[in-house]
């Protein structure tokens, strides 16, 4: 383990950000934390969670898939991609770090999504351990240790030092790039901080969320539950939960006439929207009840059924704090668990 005095944080960011794009959580003009491209003088926000998750960096909200030139009956197909450059995400929390592994299970499964893959290969994820979880946090319910985040390299920060440790080759390279600033040591301080964080984490209001029974075995009883109608009653179908969610990966593919050709792009989509499954001959999810059910069944039941028990949620709490009707996955899980226990 290496440590760097906290007053050198600016120097650390500069050492990394000088060579390649570096993104850190920073406050925007409205005072909200979001991952922002580092520049000299940009300060790291103290907020735990950015308003939007970090998934944009690997799965952008919109991205160009393919371009076409159309001339009469003739079509030309153009791959619009240029070479992906290396970049570093610094200050990713444990929940967001886990979300990348969940997205991997979708995009890196055969057949590999090469757009995503290329960004994953070129991005270095440097995590930052949480010390003061928010009341909406429940990552521990998914076996995530906020005090030991994953990623390529891990960072812990206290009043005096940043402590750094690499987990992968990309993490080694990151540590190498800040070698001049670092000295050895810090294990004891990190261990003390971890114990304290885990103690606090265990006391958060949602820490006791029990997900027993949410597996493929109870798929049909959970799907058929009469509780969905009640739970979804106030849902506006705004899709906010899906847009702030670090693991929501559903996308749409659309064409845009550029005047000079056609650009086919993909963009985030939401299962909460009425036209998500709408076809010429009808819609299998006609009302918000079915759309609402789809979202939670996907995260809590379908995804683990297909991925060795891995849930499609990381407990980041964004949907809890952003839902305009205060409905959320925790309420759903608690209510639904009565069906299977």
């Amino acid at each position: 383990m290496r440590k760097i005095a906290k007053e050198k944080l600016g120097a650390l960011l500069a050492a990394v950000g000088r060579d390649k794009p570096l993104y850190i959580p920073a406050l925007d003009a409205s005072g909200q934390a979001r991952f922002t491209r580092w520049h000299e003088g940009l300060e790291m926000a103290r907020a735990l969670n950015t308003v939007r998750s970090a998934k944009d960096f690997f799965f952008p909200q919109t991205e160009n898939l393919v371009d076409f030139k159309v001339k009469g009956k003739q079509i030309e197909i153009i791959d619009p991609r240029s070479e992906q450059e290396d970049f570093v995400l610094f200050g990713v929390r444990a929940c967001d770090a886990r979300s990348f592994e969940i997205l991997d299970k979708v995009f890196l499964a055969d057949p590999v999504d090469t757009y995503y893959q290329s960004r994953r290969e070129h991005g270095t994820v440097v995590t930052l351990a949480c010390t003061q979880p928010e009341e909406t946090c429940f990552c521990s319910a998914f076996g995530i240790d906020a005090a030991a985040p994953e990623g390529d390299a891990q960072v812990w920060m206290d009043e005096e030092y940043l402590y750094l440790s690499a987990r992968t080759q990309k993490g080694d390279k990151f540590l190498e790039s800040v070698r001049a600033l670092a000295e050895d040591g810090g294990e004891d301080a990190v261990q003390r901080q971890q114990e304290e964080t885990r103690r606090v984490m265990a006391k958060t209001p949602l820490a006791g969320l029990n997900l027993e029974g949410f597996d493929g075995e109870h798929l049909n009883p959970l799907f058929d539950s009469e509780k969905w109608a009640e739970l979804s009653q106030a849902c506006l179908g705004c899709g906010t939960c899906t847009f702030v969610c670090p693991t929501c990966q559903c996308y749409d593919i659309r064409d845009f006439d550029t005047g000079d050709g056609v650009r086919r792009f993909r963009c985030w989509d939401s299962c909460m929207y009425s036209d998500f499954t709408k076809m010429a001959h009808g819609n299998p999810r006609l009302t918000q009840v079915e759309r609402f059910r789809q979202r939670f069944m996907h995260k809590l039941v379908y995804f683990p059924a297909n991925n060795d028990g891995q849930y499609g949620c990381v407990g980041c709490g964004r949907c809890l704090s952003k839902c305009p009707i205060s409905m959320n996955i925790v309420k759903v899980a608690k209510e639904l668990s009565k069906e299977v226990r």
Partner: protein, 275 residues
């Protein structure tokens, strides 16, 4: 090299056949004049016109046709309207093949096969029919029950009359919903016709058509002693990617694009009935 799944290939439409008032069959080859890719019966392809849209269609031609692919497409939306208006020589984009095919070389080998289709539901089934007709020695008896609203709405009518009906060991039963002057064949809905015909219960069944037809045909087959494990169908839900990632064609934890579109009814009945 990794296969680029979202970047399509180019195809060109070399023939357009008007099948019914709202269904046309399009013949597609690559720009080199050869098939764009190989497939198995029941698999699908994403066709698109840039700027108009992209959608999944079943490949109606049999893999045993080594020269071209065919798609029978009903006019019912933005993209299909456009396809219906285009002329021969139009280039389109195509990607695939997608999905699980009918087990023609596995479970179907050596079996008696009963095909039941309604309307444009014959499109995916035709691929299987022509595949087993081409490899006749590998299969037992073949029985085809096909129905549509009217005589004019029967898909592949010429091929049915001039080829299928003339094959030895292939029984074809056609029906239309309402009587009409130039029709002396059977009149009535497909599910009832299947019950009247009462096929022996050792047939393996390939069933495709509108949901209501599937529902009542399956019910009738069960009354005749058929088990769900003998009946296969092919599903269709809205799709964007075709490879199980865009997240919209799922039935429970199965994606129609990659775990289907071909399902056996005992598999389907284990899933939530959200389709």
């Amino acid at each position: 090299m990794t296969q680029e799944t979202l970047i399509p290939k180019l195809g060109v439409v070399t023939d357009i056949r008007i099948d019914t008032p709202d269904i046309k069959t399009f013949r597609v080859v690559g720009l080199d004049g050869k098939k764009v890719f190989d497939h198995m019966p029941g698999q699908c392809a994403m066709l698109s016109i840039p700027g108009v849209g992209e959608a999944m269609f079943s490949i109606t031609s049999s893999p045993t046709n080594t020269e071209y692919m065919e798609f029978s497409i009903k006019k019912c939306g933005c993209l299909t309207d456009w396809l219906h208006q285009m002329d021969v020589g139009q280039q389109i984009t195509i990607r695939g093949p997608y999905g699980k095919h009918f087990p023609v070389e596995e479970e179907f080998r050596g079996k008696d096969l009963l095909f039941v289709a309604g309307g444009v539901g014959l499109a995916p089934v035709r691929s299987v029919i022509n595949y087993v007709r081409a490899k006749r020695e590998n299969y037992g008896r073949i029985m085809i029950v096909y129905g549509s609203r009217s005589k004019e709405d029967l898909l592949d009518y010429d091929e049915i009359l001039s080829e299928w009906m003339k094959d030895e060991g292939v029984e074809v039963y056609l029906t239309i919903d309402r009587p009409q002057d130039d029709w002396d064949g059977h009149v009535g809905f497909v599910p009832n016709y299947v019950k009247e015909l009462a096929p022996a219960k050792d047939y393996t069944v390939i069933l495709c058509g509108p949901p209501i037809m599937i529902k009542f045909t399956l019910q009738g087959l069960k009354e005749l002693g058929f088990a769900e494990t003998q009946v296969y169908t092919t599903m269709e839900l809205r799709m964007k990617c075709g490879v199980g990632k865009c997240g919209r064609c799922n039935i429970g934890n199965k994606y129609v694009c990659k775990d289907g579109p071909v399902f056996r009814f005992d598999e389907l009945s284990q899933l939530p009935s959200e389709y």
